[in-house]
């Protein structure tokens, strides 16, 4: 594929290593022990150089797996590589995911040195019992310590990841977790509901009937509680699962929702470049081998059709509370949105799931809860 540099806005880099596997996680990841981490970092470097030729990204996001599971030497190598190929002073946001149990001063110092602007800390909950239930390696004190340590190293832009609808979680436990997160004063919180995915420990437990989950009603109550409590504290709800003080919305993640293009690098990473969505090889060895051979590791490539692009504009864009700009849609696709989605929009409006304000289509509060019905309505066939 040829790459049109002007279009690619972000770069995602995947570190698939963990020294601990959480019970709910279905991301591409492996136990770190005995893995060819250095070879992997070499391959990443080669892949970065491959994509960098086509233009530099405006945002960089290193996720995992567990990026902070790398030892300090490997960690620094990773950032040297990023600096060498992708980083530039005009980068708007440079985020790294960190786990409380392995975020230390040395790693914070490295990140500071290499221009990281934002940390995403995987807290999930401040309930120690629940942390064990979901198979996390840290305790709530570790999480607080990690956030405070990062703040002392000058990282103000921190987002804390939380989860809800966990097995055995109560509304008061959720309330306590949000309160402890808010007390840390981070300007951004992401809060995801537990989804059972195949090939996870939780999924197997569910299949065997030994996992008790809160039902849909409790999940809905919790979601309502989250929106209310975080809003009261001044974190505004800007995406289904994301809350921020004004000006602290995640820039990189917003690229996804705004249907923009991004490089995806690393094993199993997904990218969207020049109208092509691709997925890299997932297994570490395959990834390394194919980068060595080709400079990249794209396995499945799909040229997004015009129709699909419109669908994605809607089902991604509507995840944002501000919704989709009608003018933007009309310009981007060269046809009025009513001719494409007039019926769907009318139906959703009638059901009270969608509303139009100031030239934008956005979900109503009720629509947010029933988002899948809203998104689904924009699939054409």
């Amino acid at each position: 594929m040829t790459i049109n540099p002007a279009k690619v806005r972000g770069a995602y880099i995947h570190i698939p290593f963990c020294d601990h596997i959480c019970y709910y996680c279905d991301f591409n990841k492996v136990f770190m022990k005995n893995q060819p981490v250095d070879d992997y970092l070499d391959a990443l470097a080669q892949e970065m150089s491959h994509y960098a030729e086509f233009g530099l990204p405006q945002t960089i996001y290193i996720g995992g797996g567990t990026p902070t599971a790398l030892n300090e030497r490997q960690f620094e190598r990773l950032f040297q590589t990023v600096r060498k190929y992708l980083f530039h002073p005009a980068v708007k946001e440079f985020t790294v995911e960190a786990n409380p149990e392995n975020l230390n001063e040395a790693k914070l110092e490295i990140m500071k040195r290499y221009g990281v602007t934002r940390l995403s800390i995987g807290v999930q909950t401040f309930d120690d019992q629940l942390l064990k239930t979901i198979g996390r390696a840290h305790q709530s004190d570790d999480a607080e310590r990690a956030v405070r340590l990062a703040q002392r190293h000058g990282f103000d832009n921190i987002t804390v990841d939380l989860m809800f609808a966990l097995p055995g979680q109560t509304e008061s436990s959720l309330h306590d977790s949000m309160e402890r997160a808010l007390r840390l004063g981070t300007p951004h919180i992401s809060i995801y509901s537990l989804q059972l995915e195949p090939k996870t420990i939780f999924y197997n437990r569910m299949k065997s009937g030994s996992l008790r989950l809160p039902g849909e009603d409790i999940e809905a109550d919790m979601y309502g509680q989250i929106i209310l409590e975080l809003g009261r504290y001044g974190l505004h709800h800007y995406e289904i699962s994301n809350f921020a003080k004004p000006g602290f919305e995640g820039i990189h993640n917003s690229l996804y929702w705004q249907n923009e293009e991004y490089y995806g690098m690393g094993a199993g990473a997904h990218g969207y470049v020049n109208g092509m969505r691709y997925a890299n090889a997932g297994p570490i060895k395959k990834y390394i081998d194919s980068v060595r051979k080709n400079g990249h590791s794209r396995r499945s490539e799909h040229a997004v059709t015009f129709e699909e692009k419109m669908e994605e504009e809607m089902f991604l864009g509507l995840r944002l509370m501000k919704g989709v700009s009608i003018d933007h849609f009309n310009d981007k696709f060269g046809r009025p949105i009513e001719t494409v989605y007039g019926d769907a929009i009318e139906r959703l409006k009638k059901k009270g799931l969608l509303a139009e304000h100031d030239g934008r289509l956005a979900m109503t509060q009720r629509g947010i809860f029933l988002g899948n019905d809203v998104f689904g309505a924009f699939l054409m066939s």
Binding site: I191, S193, E216, S241, R277, F369, L370, N372, D373
Partner: protein
Amino acid sequence: MSENQKQRQSRIRNFSIIAHIDHGKSTLADRILEATQALTKREMKAQALDAMDLERERGITIKLNAVELTYKAPDGEEYIFHLIDTPGHVDFSYEVSRSLAACEGALLVVDAAQGVEAQTLANVYLALENDLEIIPVINKIDLPSADPERVKQEIEDVIGLDASDAVLASAKAGIGTEDILTQIIEKIPAPSGDPNAPLKALIFDSLYDAYRGVIVYIRVMEGSVRVGDTIKMMANGKTFEVLEVGVATPKIENREELSVGDVGFITASIKSVHDTRVGDTVTNADRPADQPLPGYRKMNPMVYCGLYPIDTARYDDLREALGRLELNDSSLQYEPETSEALGFGFRCGFLGLLHMDIVQERLEREFNIDLIATAPSVIYKVKLNDGSSVRVGNPSEMPERKFIQEIEEPYVKATVMTPNDYVGAVMELCQRKRGEFKTMEYLDANRTNVIYDLPLSEIMYDFFDILKSSTKGYASLDYEMDGYRSSDLVKMDILLNGEKVDALSVIVHQEFAYERGKAIVEKLKQLIPRQQFEVPIQAAIGQKIISRSTIKALRKNVLAKCYGGDVSRKRKLLEKQKEGKKRMKAVGSVEVPQEAFMAVFKMSHDD
């Protein structure tokens, strides 16, 4: 008759294989095909006789098949074997009896571990009625749990056959095949008919072929049939000119003629399998036989259900698909019907529940039509106050109670073969299903036949599942129709969101109405997903609500999950959701999944 012909006839052996499902019939057939070199190993797909995919998957034989095999016996003589395959399920017992009637002998295959089962017994009785020589084969002797001596004893005690010469075999491992072939030659008599008499050929199967018309599988009992003959179907008097005569070896081979004892096929530009009913006699139109062969019956459907396309636009496709299936299935009946809830569809009649399942599955699989099947119903005979009477196969068409004088429902004579330990459980179940005890037969030291008269509708409902679970799977069931009886029956309606859904109506016994109503309402509550509004579910008899429950309104389905840049995954999820919606039927404003329409029928034991 020429000496040659006489000699040929004396070397013919016609036989079937009788076995319970899974006792190894198809595998044994494969071994025999191999041993007679009808198929080379390379051509041998496991279980060569089961032609349809569905058959192979379910391990049951739906369509009969017959092959001619040449066996060179160790004594140097060449024999002609006709192996006639039979279906293995109670729904098809008439067809089994007709294919047995085409034989002089049968191999009785019994699993060396599991022993004789009720279904085997039923087919053995059919074989004995047809005066067949029966050769017992104890199969799977290589299983660790095999106990051939016990099974031999069982065959003697239960069936009353001499099992001292029973062949100990493992069809899978190829053990005992030669013995079986030798016994076929020695024990099964050659066909005895007169080749110079007027033609009498028994139809035991037929198959529609788009190019040749109906292919009629026959066994010639008397006389012979040749290309160019004008034949007559004795049941309806229709005549046809024979175009082809042949046998399957299993490759199709055309022949000049089929004579006494031969098993093969004829084609004669016959347009419909309805003219070639199983059990009918084919004779020569110019020189007809006086009497048809005995035993012909026209099979009538026992079980009816409504079939509707989920996508109403596919009504015509469904009609065409049913038409295509009917070409090959003279027991399938269908006629258009309309449901307020489901739109346009067909009321279809089947021989039994398995037959119904098979037809539904073929419609979905071979014709890609997503279906909604309503709960199966038996045919009720309803006497009205004005003295007239109607037959009702669709519960929603049951007349109002005030017009009804009496409702009669079909009964069966059910034979449950069970280990003695479970006799109590079996009787309790039969009692609970409105059964009337008839008798018990003590088969041997361990087993008993428990015989009850039961309403057919109760057998259809969940009888078999409960029977299996309350006897640890040891009991087996066989039943035959036993006329109609008057019962205290009522129609129960189901209302969704206050609206009666005709496709969910059921006929129930007055005494069980509350219990059934409650179970159905609860089951529907589980099966119907939450909607954007609250949906009450009610069960009613006439105007009276006897049970109710509520599906709460949908509150949250948005996926608040972190997918990062994996957009294709999000898309797949939404597409799957949409696909799921397509498989639902909008009944009024409620989206109802396919399974819900069967819910009134399929209840598991714990419900």
